[in-house]
Amino acid sequence: MTDAPMNGQPGEVRRGLSRTDTMETVRKGLRRRYAAERRFKWYGRIAIAIALGFLVVLVGSILFRGASVITQTHILLSVELPMDAFSVDGEVTDESLQRADFGGIVKQALRDRFPDVSKRRDRRTLYQLISTGATYELRDHVVADPSLIGQTIDIWLTASDDIDMLDKGYIDRNVDSTGRRVSDQQIAWYDALIADGRLERHFNTTFFTSGDSREPEQAGIWGAALGSFYTLMVTLLLAFPLGVTTAVYLEEFAPKNKWTDLIEVNINNLAAVPSIIFGLLGLAVFLNVIGLPRSAPLAGGVVLALMTLPTIIIAGRAALKAVPPSIREAALGVGASRLQTVTHHVLPLAMPGMLTGSIIGMAQALGETAPLLMIGMVAFIVDLPGGPLDPATVLPVQVYIWADSPERAFVERTSAGIIVLLLFLVVMNLSAVMLRKRFERRW
């Protein structure tokens, strides 16, 4: 650039630094400054890359580990069902069926399949191919169709978790056998079963229909899903009406005074109180003073309702604020009372926003773990809960329980549990987004 058109003007030369020199200085600094600019931009890019990279690794690793839960290894056994094992005095009754030694029959079937196993210790390792739950699978099968008794049937029984892990490739057979959960012997049997076509992976119904179990291959997510459902129902039934009425009161009716200030300060602070504190409140007040049942969705729902209340109130107030005052003035102008104005005009317009806030609050509640540990929802519960008063656990707590279990197969279950939990969260958040898009209104 040409410079110095005004060089030599009176008052222009200061301390020997002319405008020409100034521009020269600026020009010289440019390279360094633009390098700094690029560096700065890269800091930002790297920061975002770190954050998103973590997200990808987090979700990816869990998907990677959990997806295989879809299938479960089964073993086809030829089971002999001798008449005398099921009958008392030659007669098969319900009672005699219940008393039959199905476990022994399964073990016998295994011995029949591998007749050359004779040592007691070897037999015990042989039995470990099959899940302990196989006994009940066989019983249910026979009870459903007693005419099978006296025959030899082929039945797919659930394999043990170790065999399942071996089949899915999580256990490396090339490792020295002392450091591995499956013995060389078991691997040989496993190979023999595969060669026979007697070992296959089938869809894992157990995982999607049962409650918890100490045995990974029998543990399911359904009990926790039901628990989450009952808990969230209680939360919703409490938090939604309370949240909406509070928002309406504070936004539409409350006078501006010390008391309403106090309420507002409280709401803002409650939103930031650590969740575990709510658990302590639940334990000390709801369980020990009021006497709600321990481990029950009712108590959990009440605690989570208190936690989500601030979210719903804040979202509700924002939705009410977005309704322009002209609507209120129009209603009041035709002689509606303030309450009628709110219920007939303001509330319906604000409802989509309030629902969106509530769904987001529910999603938060669904992912919450810590306060529920305090009120005993971390108990080991096998039975499916039948209502909000039954002992239950919830999805995130189930994940926590499984994550704490040492068996390799529980890593898969835990990851799968997380996938189920995340799926629910995605659905809830997406519906909130859609609701917002659908009813978004520009005034």
Binding site: T2, Q9, R15, T22, G29
Partner: protein
Amino acid sequence: MVMADTLPDEKTPRTAIVADGVNVHYGTKQALFDVDLDIKQHQVTALIGPSGCGKSTFLRCINRMNDVIDGCSVEGRILLDGDDIYDRSVDVVQLRARIGMVFQKPNPFPKSIFDNVAYGPRIHGIAEKKADLEEIVHDSLVRAGLWGEVSDRLNEPGTGLSGGQQQRLCIARAIAVRPDVILMDEPCSALDPIATARIEELIDDLRENYTIVIVTHSMQQAARVSQRTAFFHLGNLVEFGSTDAIFTAPKDPRTESYITGRIG
């Protein structure tokens, strides 16, 4: 480059900036239509016109402040001492160091008065030593007519000054970089009459050393401070000439309507 022919001639002032067929679009909306304009050195050129007429847009083209706005595109050429400032080889940082700007609302940084003025020299690396920096700050504040009022509180925040003082601080901040040209975008619109009068005086003083382009919505101000005036209307440059001529004998009927108060 050659010193001899750059010496100013009192009778025919040198041309500092030439705008040649400037069109500006904001997205799909055209804001300026084919503006041709030349700005003389050491004069005050006023841009007037009703709001939304494109005068501010044109001003912001001169130091490429429109670059920061998404979707804004500028066509045509603007020559600063013969070089197109929209040429690829031109560096916008360097350009802005040559063409300073003062904004509608006083916008001192939330820093001390000293740091406000020292900001430009610091980022451009003009003054390395503290003594040099102090000299520049002192000089700039003196030129901006603010030294007497703030000399004893240079370390207090610039945001604590009155509106008029803040605007003079912003002018000092612009001067500190030693620009050739100072652009002023309605510099007095947020100020009271007394503060306005001081700024106008200051503008007149500054003319000696700087080329000044000022956007104003006040015709009286244009008449008071400027030597030449350009009248913009609906994105067109309607009339451009000496301030006296525009205000006493406008050629275009739109100009006449505007200065007599019928439109705008």
